[in-house]
């Protein structure tokens, strides 16, 4: 038997290309294309009075200048509100080029096409736009106060409002023996992939077809949106994602203004056009996430068990709402984590501000939800003088209670029902891994040496693999090579490897013979996209099912040729053979030839195949319900999301003088069901943890009150370097297979980042002895908090709770 590839740390197929400069990212294509650049709004909120291009017209190399007035038909309409939801009371989306009023710094106002990017930027510099500046709304609290409006016609700045309630939370809290209230704050951060966005378009006038490349997380989405906006038949548009230099969510948003404008102008000018986003543009014109203000009211018993939880939060959705309310819905539902909340009520407002739009960033609202819940758990433990882990354990859903219905509606519109997980076992592993029970002694010893150390813990549950579907296409070519296509896209997750592992196993062929294509609408036109930790679950199962179909067909044809019962056949190393008699068989390549009753023998494989006779000589060569070719296609569509979970612990040391925060240890226990490639999954966790560190300690969008982003560069927006991350991420796994899909897998892509901020808050609080309620926290903020604590402005917490069982 060939060794199973599923579960093995197979080195990645894509690396040979990417390590030698052979990758092709968006800006590596179309070297001769004309370049597009944009004049973007320098104001957060302003009326456009006049656009004067006179000075720009004599720049050599200028090809075209467009403003909103040049747009026509569907392109002149506002961009779509992609995911409508009944909670949305005022859905506002941008126009492809600003029409009348700009609502954030960075909004595109004028589009310039020129011979190259240098010239295009010369032109942009010479275009004068006159604005009438309006008051800007910046920050969640200002939006909530609504002294000014981000959109003149949206009262209270409220884009959406939603309440979900299970039981009577307020009554349960009022009747509870203990009640606590918390007010929490989370700042903006952003995905910040190393490669920004980019679009390259070619119009083929002879065939009236558009060929489009975008650095996107969904080519099918971009294709459909562009076809609609350009009023082209869907069949006349092809869209491909080349190699993509990271996404983390920002590239699932679509269509971006540039994604519709570039192909539109390419057709209009009948020229190849390309736009490559630069770093500053990425900061001010793509998307951010995370900012929320939260109020929590909780009632609990003497053991710390939740009796009622009432959460009210305000979510900053930025200037427009193209992606709907996915992020705050996820916060409001996934906040529950591995716990039984008793009665639960959650209410949120999603608010407009005159800042960059907010769309999902890895974790997508969960880091905020986990922050609220885990801060609450720590506050309860502190209030009762109980161990922080013991309080969590008192609230866990037990493994025997699975599947567990939280009686809420999740972001996919389906019930929030956890399919699997063993939370107590996960926590037991984490306690062992980090040495939870020994930490109090270590902290005391450190204290005695004049050092401040603290430990923090945080838990999450993550709905992964959301539907509706993904497809797989598997074809065995007459060379015996296997080509696989799935529609969703890849931004570094190793899909070429992981899906090849699955197909090679299912089909019984060598891994090296399998080539995977993702994100090309010519190869698989039906797909949703890569987000919500769904790729491995959705496409993994889809290509697995498709491979199974191909296998069945191969066995049938080979059975015919060998005059054997297909049941008695197996496929090993690309050979179909009789079980127990491996000398009788034929290669899959021959089966591939036989599957296509062609009359021409143009190569050796087809000549070799002539020795076999397949099919019933009295029936048509292609039977009624059959198709030529050894290929198969299938779709995987789950009834609901599958829920992964995990728990992180971090140990920090804070400098008593400088307030610098050092990470001493970072431990992760996670359960993402069956793991296809542990090396790749661990890599995903490492990357997520680093983003969690960034979100907890460094990254924020420093907007001033006028809505200017003051740190729109890598010099000022502090992403972690190698010096800022934990030296090792200590990882332990639990594999509770998902009962919902054939491969038993759950998503893993986002997990690493989700509990980061909560775990750091817990650890810093433990080290410092006072309540932490806002993230991120930089050394200077910690320094300021110490002063406020000394002045009695913030409450103390106990850092050395009584060990359980003593009193």
């Amino acid at each position: 038997m060939t060794t199973r590839l599923f579960g093995a740390p197979v080195p990645r197929s894509e690396d040979a290309r990417l390590l030698t400069g052979g990758g092709r990212y968006l800006d590596d294509l179309g070297h001769d294309a004309a370049a597009v650049a944009f004049v973007r709004s320098p104001h957060a909120h302003a009326r456009i009075v006049d656009v004067d291009v006179t000075d720009a017209l004599d720049v050599e190399g200028l090809l075209a200048v467009y403003t909103y007035e040049d747009l026509e038909g569907a392109l002149a309409e506002p961009l779509p509100l992609l995911i409508p939801h009944p909670s949305i009371v005022a859905g506002r989306t941008a126009h492809a080029l600003a029409s009348g009023v700009v609502h954030h710094v960075g909004e595109p106002v004028v589009m310039v096409v020129a011979s190259d990017r240098y010239v295009a930027e010369d032109v942009c510099d010479r275009i004068r736009v006159e604005y009438d500046v309006l008051p800007a709304v910046v920050g969640v609290r200002n939006a909530r106060d609504a002294t000014h409006l981000a959109h003149a016609d949206v009262p209270g700045n409220v884009a959406a409002h939603l309440v979900q309630e299970v039981g009577d939370a307020r009554a349960a809290i009022d009747a509870a023996p203990h009640v606590l209230e918390l007010e929490l704050d989370i700042e903006r951060s952003a995905c910040t992939p190393l490669e920004g966005r980019g679009v390259y378009a070619r119009w083929d006038a002879d065939e009236s077809r558009l060929r489009l490349w975008s650095s996107t997380q969904t080519t099918t989405g971009v294709r459909a949106a562009v076809a609609a906006k350009l009023e082209l038949p869907l069949s006349a548009v092809d869209c491909t994602a080349p190699d993509v230099g990271g996404g983390f969510g920002v590239k699932i948003m679509h269509p971006w203004p540039e994604e519709v404008l570039v192909p539109w102008a390419a057709r209009r000018l009948d020229r190849e056009l390309k736009w490559t986003e630069d770093r500053r543009e990425h900061f001010v014109s793509s998307a951010h996430e995370r900012a929320q203000v939260q109020q929590v009211r909780v009632g609990f018993d003497d053991a710390g068990r939740l009796l009622g939880l009432d959460v009210r939060f305000w979510h900053d959705n930025g200037a427009y709402l193209p992606y709907g309310v996915i992020v705050p819905i996820i916060t409001s539902t996934q906040l529950l984590g591995p716990y039984k909340p008793g009665a639960y009520r959650v209410e949120f407002d999603s608010l407009y501000t005159n800042t960059v739009i907010v769309t999902p960033y890895r974790g997508a609202g969960r880091p905020q939800g986990v922050f609220a819940m885990e801060r609450t758990m720590d506050a309860i433990a502190d209030h009762l003088g109980r161990d922080r882990v013991a309080v969590r354990e008192a609230n866990f859903i037990g493994p025997d209670e699975m599947p567990y219905d939280q009686q809420m509606t999740f972001q996919d519109g389906r019930p929030l029902v956890y399919d699997s997980g063993d939370f107590p076992a996960t926590m037991a592993k984490l306690k062992d891994l980090v040495g939870w029970d020994e930490f109090a002694a270590y902290r005391e010893q450190a204290r005695a040496e004049g050092r401040r150390v603290g430990i923090g813990v945080a838990c999450y549950v993550e709905g992964t693999g959301v539907g509706p579907y993904e497809g797989g296409h598997v074809q065995v070519e007459t060379s015996g090579k296997v080509v696989v296509a799935t529609g969703l896209t890849t931004q570094g997750q190793g899909h070429e490897t992981v899906f090849a592992q699955i197909v090679a196993d299912e089909l019984g062929v060598p891994f090296e013979d399998v080539t995977v294509t993702t994100g090309d609408t010519r190869r698989m036109p039906y797909s949703v996209g890569t987000f919500a930790s769904r790729a491995a679950v959705m496409s993994g199962n889809a290509v697995g099912l498709a491979a199974r179909n191909v296998r069945t067909k191969a066995l049938r044809i080979a059975g015919d040729a060998l005059e054997a019962d297909p049941q008695d056949l197996e496929i090993v190393d690309g050979q179909v053979r009789v079980k127990g008699n491996p000398s009788v068989g034929l290669p899959l390549s021959t089966v591939a030839v036989l599957s296509n009753p062609l009359r021409y023998a143009f190569d050796k494989a087809s000549q070799a195949a002539t020795q076999f006779v397949v099919g019933d000589p009295d029936s048509p060569p292609v039977a009624e319900d059959d198709e030529p070719g050894l290929e198969g296609r299938d779709f995987y569509s789950p009834p609901q999301s599958t829920y992964a979970n995990g728990m992180h612990a971090v140990v920090v040391e804070t400098d008593p003088e400088t307030a610098e925060i050092r990470i001493l240890r970072y431990c992760v226990v996670h359960d993402c069901g069956n793991v296809v490639n542990p090396m790749i999954v661990e890599g995903q966790i490492h990357g997520g943890v680093a983003q969690g560190v960034g979100g907890a300690l460094y990254e924020r969008m420093a907007y001033d009150e006028d809505g200017q982003l003051l740190n729109a560069s890598f010099m000022d927006f502090l992403m972690p370097y190698a010096t800022e991350v934990p030296a090792t991420v200590e990882i332990d796994h639990l594999e509770t297979p998902s009962p919902l899909n054939p491969l038993g897998i759950k998503g893993a892509g986002e997990a690493g980042v989700i509990p980061g901020a909560a775990a750091f808050a817990s650890a810093i609080e433990d080290a410092e002895g006072f309540r932490i309620s806002a993230m991120p926290i930089s050394p200077s903020e910690l320094f300021a908090l110490r002063a406020r604590f000394a002045a009695g402005d913030i409450p103390a917490v106990r850092t050395a709770p009584r060990p359980e069982g003593t009193s």
């Binding site: 190393l194 790749i680 966790i685 190698a722 030296a727």
Partner: protein, 171 residues
């Protein structure tokens, strides 16, 4: 034509990956754009265009430099090595490339060229670094995907592979 000054053209002749190359380009052409679009060597990536991310790092006479901070014209007469030139003469992966593959030191691959060139130059200088030295050596390069743990492991493994290959050649 006010933009004529900016579009003054210069001839740039230099050696890239061991081969003499020349092109006439606008004098303000950045080395990164020159390599990527004029010489069609797009393996050098641009992540920030302001010298902070390190993705565009190439070797200039063996020393790492940021191609986004330099004009192509300033590289005249110099020897440049890009990621396309790192492999062994027989096409095999270099020790650094091989180590990144073994240790899963890359995900999306966008930052990778800069790490590979930086590490290659560094190991020439310090063939047996400690872990802390490696962290220091790559601390000017940003990666948003990997969290760096596997990149550090890759550079340490590359040092090992270099020694193994050197020993193999000596015997």
């Amino acid at each position: 034509m006010t933009s004529l000054d900016a579009e003054q053209r210069v001839e740039v002749a230099l050696t890239v990956n061991g081969l003499p190359r020349a092109a006439t380009v606008p004098s303000r052409r950045l080395l990164s754009d020159f390599l990527r679009h004029d010489l069609r060597l797009p393996g050098t990536h641009v992540g920030c265009e302001h010298g902070v991310c390190g993705a565009c790092t190439v070797l200039l006479d063996g020393e790492p430099v940021r191609a986004c901070l330099m004009f192509a014209a300033s590289a005249r007469g110099h020897e440049i090595t890009t990621v396309e030139g790192l492999s062994e003469p027989d096409g095999a992966l270099s020790p650094v490339q091989q180590a990144f593959r073994e240790c899963h030191g890359l995900q999306c691959g966008f930052c990778t060229s800069g790490f590979l060139t930086t590490a290659t130059a560094y190991l020439e200088e310090n063939p047996a670094p400690t872990r802390d030295e490696v962290v220091e050596a790559i601390s000017g390069n940003l990666c948003r995907c990997t969290g760096y743990q596997n990149i550090v492991a890759s550079v340490l493994r590359a040092a090992e592979l270099r020694r193994e290959r050197a020993a193999g050649q000596a015997s």
